[in-house]
Each structure stands twice: as C-alpha cells, then as structure tokens.
C-alpha cells in the first residue's frame, strides 16, 4: 500500500484569476521508502498540493474533487481533530525558510519537546533522551548546546536540521519537504539533501519533495512528477523523466537548465580593459563608545579586470562578498581601500560631484525584479530617467526607449504601463533596457537571473548574451549559481569570505579547479552527473 495516494485532486482558485484551478485532476502516489519530486515553475500549484495533503490550504482555495489517502485514510474527510493528530505523527512537513518556520523566542529543544508532549505520553526524561537522539541523528554537532540554543543562534543549515528533526521525531510515514534547500547555500544544500536521503532510507519514510530545481531532482528523486499550471504533465522514474522526457513542457524545462560545462568561446586577450580593481576592500567597523571595535571584512584585497565584450563572473555563496564588490564598483557603497579603474580614472574614492559624469559608464541590474522598478512610475519614465538626467532631450530619450524595448523583446507600445502589469521576467527585461539607455561600457548583473524561473532565466540569459555580443559590452556577472556562471562567463572569480580564492578563464576554473573551496563548491552542485541543457 502506498503511503500517500492522491487521486483526481482538483483545487479551485478564487474567481477572477488567470486560470480556474490551482490543481486540476492531479494524481500520484508516494510509496514507503520512496522520494517523489514534485517539480514545476512558480505558479504551477506544487505548494498548494503539499498544503492540501497537510490540510493547511487557505480558505479561499477549496478542494472540489478527488481524494488524498494517507496510509489508506481519506484526509479530505478527516475531522480537524483527526488531522491534528496525524500531523507530526503520520505526516510532517519541512518548509523553505527555516528562520520563519521556527519560533524565534523558544529554544530549539523546547520546540522539539512540544511535539513530543503533544503527541506522546513519554515522561520528561524519556522525551529528553528522544530529543537528543534525534538531534544526533540529524548530525548536529554538540546536541546539548543545540537543544539549548535559540533559532537565531544557529546557521541556516543548522536550523533546517532542527526542522527536519522536528518533522521526523515521531517517525511519520510521510515527510513533505517544500523547497527545503532553496534558501540555503549550495554546499549546505548538498549536506541537507544527503541527510534527507539517509534518514528516509533508514526509516523507510515516504518523501514528497517539492522543488523547482532539476539539479536537486537529479540528486534525490526516485520518481518525478512534473506540474505545469496545475496539471500533472509527466510522471515517471527519475532517469526516464530526466533523460527521455516525453512531454514537450518537460523537455523545454530540462532544456532550459544551464549545463555545468563552460561554453567554449575564445576570449580576446587583447581586448581593452574596461574596468580593473586593485586591492579593493570594504571593511565595516562597529564603532561603539564603550564596546570593543569590531571589524568585518566584507571584501578584502579584490583584484579583477573586465575587458570589452567579455564577461567576468563572480561566484560565491551568501556572505562571500560578491555583492559587496559589485556595489563598490557601481559606487552604491564606498570602498574602504583599493582602486577601481574605469578606463584611466580611479573612481574608488572620487567625490560624488566628479563621479556623476562617470556613473553612466557603469550600470547595474539587480536580483529582485519586483523591487527594482519604482511601482509608481511608468516603464517609460523608468527608462528615460537616466538619459534625461544627463540632458538628453525628452523626445530623443523616448525614441531610445522605444528602440531599447524592441531590443529586449518587449512591445514598445507597453511603455505607458506600470511595473505591476508585468511578470518577473518582463520586469527584468525592462531593468536591462533601463541600464542600456545610459549606453554603459560595463553592465553589472547582480544575481540578475536568480529570482527567475528556469525557462525565463534561460531567455534572459540569452538576451544578456546577445546584448553583450551586439554592443560589445563588458559584463560583470555576480551569481551563486555555477550553472549560470558556466554558461555566460569568459573569466570566473570564486569568492569566499571576502576574498578571491580562485580567478581565471572559465574553462580552466571549471575544468581543473585548483583551490579546495572551488572543488567543494563544484562537488556540491546538485545534479552534476546529468548533462542538462544538451537536450
């Protein structure tokens, strides 16, 4: 018997939306000891399905047809009280954001204890033993200290381990993991994935694993279910789905996953250097009157160069200082030391008044397309703002804006519209157009495709490539995603804890990484054994 059986599940969306169902006639099973990955882009309905199993659907989304059976028991007909009993004991869930899923004012041990107190009749001493056991089992160092710690005292990976411990402490038959590694760094992600696999194999737990990342799917899934706009388009064993996708949508998705193999593009070593940093550093100092001075080296001694028509990638995990470098180069923050040479001039410590003339030569595209455009200004105003600041007549600026909209594959007729009327990918195109309106020599893309769905990401990457080629732009590409870096970069700098640990041509860094951190990073990349993007 399957642990979880979903049949003909249909969940309605509130009327007035762009489609009628959040999930339409979805059916799949999860067996004992099996990991089933539910894959889809944002809005595909994967999280809604997970919530419906847990009985956590918001009131506005009613289940209108189908059934969900947990070990044979119909969950849709179960009373709220029965559902409460089943949660944690027979099914449990791990969420994406471990910081918000844990109660910040309760010690981790107390939160674990609460689960046991609620669902078992164990004596305090026995509960304590069980808690320490499970904390040891999720491989947290120093269990006694972990149990006594508050969530903010732990790292993201440790918090997620606590979440997993909480989910598994009562040995449920089904574990639902909703993007449990999306908020984590790639090396932490690799550890958490391995942990889930180990625990699941040892306890025979059925796992419903929700993700948007095909690398993670390749790493962990036994079987894969692909969702597209609420419909299940493909269901099968992992290797079948990944290597021989049947449905066109699956093929498109897998084709859009960038390959880890760096592209072979000869980089002209003689191209003029557009931007060079030497010894660039940014140090944050805590200046207290009474307290000890504390220094944080966000970036230390960073020396890089970007040449015309080429892309330099800065790769690293969160907190590695890659964004700090980008923001120093755009002079959104002031570097503490070092040089930033833009052509002949050093802009590192240039006063704002002199800097203004040089600003237009370096433009930036940010990560979050929803916050990069002022919600109260039309697209036209956004794009012509820069040129207008430098005295370009309005008529000419508008003409440029129309041309640029064409360049980024948007309808010039939509210039009068406001940002909220566009999707994330479209907004990112608008941001690119806004940056290009300044006719920059260097375009800084700070995680510019990280917030986008994989198919949209592929399109925006292709657009950036085309623009770089056509306008012979120098590009500084900041990313945490090795696949993306492999696809666009001519040179790669790997950063860790504020320092560049490895720097060289992409083929060399990817082909034979020298630094041990780089190797660890590559080893952690999920799904590296699958040749994505080749299809």
């Amino acid at each position: 018997m399957s642990v979880l059986e979903v049949r003909g599940l249909t969940i309605d969306l509130p009327s007035g939306g762009d489609r009628r169902h959040a999930a339409a006639d979805v059916g799949f099973t999860v067996d004992r000891g099996e990991i089933v990955c539910l894959v889809g882009e944002s809005g595909s309905g994967k999280s809604v399905i997970a919530q419906s199993v847990m009985g956590l659907l918001p009131r506005g989304l009613p289940v209108t047809a189908g059934e969900i059976r947990l070990e044979g028991e119909d969950l849709l007909r179960a009373s709220p009280r029965r559902l409460r009993e089943l949660r944690a004991t027979r099914m449990s869930m791990v969420f994406q954001e471990p910081m918000t899923a844990l109660n910040p004012v309760m010690r981790c041990g107390e939160q674990l204890d609460e689960v046991l107190r609620e669902h078992t009749a164990l004596a305090p001493a026995a509960r304590r033993r069980r808690i320490l056991d499970i904390v040891r089992e999720v491989r947290l160092p120093d269990p006694e200290r972990m149990v006594a710690a508050y969530p903010h005292q732990l790292s993201g990976g440790q918090r997620q381990r606590i979440m997993i411990a909480m989910a598994l402490v009562l040995e449920p038959a089904l574990l639902i993991a909703d993007e449990p590694t999306t908020a984590l760094d790639v090396t932490t992600q690799a550890q958490i994935l391995r942990l889930i696999q180990d625990l699941q194999a040892r306890h025979g737990t059925g796992v419903l694993f929700i993700t948007h990342d095909f690398g993670v799917v390749a790493e962990i899934a036994h079987r894969v279910a692909v969702l597209c706009l609420g419909e299940l388009v493909e269901l099968g064993p992992r290797d079948d789905v990944l290597r021989r996708p049947q449905h066109q949508y699956t093929r498109m998705l897998i084709g859009a996953v960038p390959t880890l193999k760096p592209h072979a593009r000869p980089a002209d070593a003689g191209a003029p250097v557009v931007l060079a940093t030497r010894g660039l550093s940014k140090t944050y100092r805590d200046r207290g009157w009474l307290s000890r001075h504390r220094e944080v080296h966000a970036a230390a001694d960073v020396t890089l160069e970007v040449r015309k028509g080429q892309t330099l990638g800065i790769v690293g995990e969160s907190g590695s200082g890659k964004s700090t470098v980008a923001r120093c180069i755009v002079r959104l923050i002031d570097p503490s030391a070092g040089e930033i040479r833009l052509g002949r001039e050093d802009i590192a410590s240039m006063p704002q008044s002199r800097l203004r003339a040089l600003r237009r030569r370096v433009q930036i595209v940010f990560q979050d397309p929803y916050r990069s455009l002022n919600p109260r200004r039309s697209v036209l105003e956004a794009i012509i703002e820069g040129p207008r600041n430098y005295g370009v007549p309005r008529a000419r600026a508008i003409e440029t804006a129309r041309r640029l909209m064409g360049l980024v594959r948007m309808d010039p007729g939509s210039l009068a519209r406001y940002p909220h009327q566009f999707s994330g990918g479209q907004r990112q195109r608008i941001c690119i157009a806004r940056a290009l309106a300044m006719e920059p020599e260097l375009l800084v893309a700070d995680e510019a495709v990280s917030a986008l769905d994989v198919s949209v990401q592929a399109q925006v990457l292709a657009l950036l490539e085309e623009i770089r080629e056509r306008l012979q732009l120098a590009m500084l590409f900041i990313t945490h995603d090795l696949r993306v870096a492999a696809q666009v970069c001519d040179h790669v700098a790997v950063m860790s804890q504020g320092r560049v640990v490895e720097y060289g041509p992409a083929a060399q860094v990817f082909g034979s990484p020298r630094h041990e951190y780089t190797r660890a990073l590559f080893d952690a990349a999920p799904g590296r054994d699958f040749a994505f993007g080749a299809a």
């Binding site: 755009v330 002079r331 959104l332 203004r356 600003r359 237009r360 370096v362 433009q363 930036i364 940010f366 990560q367 979050d368 916050r371 990069s372 455009l373 002022n374 919600p375 109260r376 200004r377 703002e385 820069g386 600041n389 430098y390 406001y418 909220h420 009327q421 941001c431 806004r434 300044m438």
Partner: protein
Amino acid sequence: MDATGAWSRVRRNWPVRVGGAVLAVLVLVAVAAPWLGTVDPTLFDAGSRDLVPGKVGEITTLDGEILKHTFWFGSDSFGRDIYSRVLYGSRVSLAVGVLAALVSLGFGIVAGLSAGYLRWLDGVLMRFMDGLMAIPAILIAIALVAMWRGSLVTVVVAIAIPEIPRVTRLVRSLVLSIREEPYVEAAVSLGTPTWKIMFAHILPNTIAPLVVQGTYICASAILVEAILSFLGVGLPPDIPTWGNIMAEGRPQFNLYPHNIFIPGAFLAVTVLAVNILGDGLRDTLDPKMARRL
C-alpha cells in the same frame, strides 16, 4: 500597486464610503450654514435666554429688527441660538482639523525626508523632534495664546506643533526602508540628483501611510481644538466653536444639558467619521495592515 487600482479599492471600501459620506454632509452643512435657517450665531437676546430645544421665540438682530425664530437646539444663557452656533462651529472644527493635518504633514514630510535620506542631518533633527515631543500640546497652546491672542492660526499652530515629530518619525522610518529598495539604488546609478530621488522616488511611495496618518491627525486636532476652547485657551468665546458652546453650557449642565450634548454629539460624530474613513483608507492603501488580502 498602481494609483488607479488603489483608488478603485478605496472607493469600493465600506468604511471609506460611510465615513466619507458623513464628512461630506458635515462639510456641506458648514459651507451652507447661512442658508440653513440660522441667524447670526453671536446674536444676544436677553428675552430668549435658556430656551429648551424646539421652542419658538424671538431674536433681535443688530439692526433692531425682531425675528420670529425656532430654537431647534434651544438657546444658551445669553439667548444665543445654539443651532446656529453649532452649525457655524462646524466650520471652525473642520478647518482646524484639515489645516492642522496639512501643516503637520507638510513640515513632517520635509523633516522626515531630510532626516531619513541625509544621514548627517538625522541625529540633530531627530533630537530636536524628541524635544518638541516632550512639550504637552496644552502648554504650547496656553503659551501661544498668551503671546499672541486666541485665533484660528494660533490654535492650528498649537495643535500642529506636537504632531510634527510624530509625522517626522513616520516619514523617516518609511524613508529608511524605501531608500534601501533596489529602485532607489538604480536611480543613484542612473545619476539622478539627490533632491529628485527624495521627491520623485521616495516621497510618492510614502503617500499611502501618510494619507492615513493625516486622517488621524485631523480627528485628534478636532478633538484638541474642542478641548482647548472648552478650557478657554482656544478661540475667543465670541467665536462659535463646539468647545466654546460646551464651555458656556457647563455651569448650567444640570438644567440645560442640551447645551453640552448637542455640540458634543456633533463632535463625536465628526471624529468618528474621520476615524472610520482613516481605518478604511488604511485597509485599502496599506495592504500589510488589512485583515484580508
């Protein structure tokens, strides 16, 4: 969230409709007071003192003409028509509410934007605001009335001054979060001058919470004006305001409670309407605060 979408949500919101409708009626009444069967609200008539509501009496105009007049809300101990005084009094209340809100918002926006965006100004400006906040409104009013004399301007200034630090703090906190938004950083890298970033990028995104805050200031200003007048440190007693009418009714409250109840009821309804409007605006303009959405 664009302007048109928010606006249609505002119009469909019931609290906004109810509060707005009541206020619209009050504004109409205030504007049309001379044509609503009123007489000069400052007119004394020794012959018709202390009339109960609904009583028909006579009143002598300044020209010596004797009018037959129905005292709908009764008359006070000077024989003045309370109906006329309450209607004309609504002019003062509404004017004080709106002006105090506008003045405190105006100064607060400039101060808050400066403190939030120009960091070197922040410390000095906010400490000054803290100091301002420590002075009680009534004390400022008494001092101002003693220095100048009771007038609309004095009252508005006295009420607006203690509100300015509150608005400043609100605007500053909004600016501090908005200035970190990528679109502001994008504007910096587009070479947009600082003043333009402040007024074209940051300010428009603070408007929604400020409109809401403005309604609350308006409501509290109407109340404070009534309190000041009641205590005799507001507008001079000959100008009809709800506070003044109540102050004059106070000694005779046991015998003629309508002298206090009727202006009191108008005051309560007005403040309630403004607050309901403010709640509705908050729910529709500030989705984070809304119960649903």
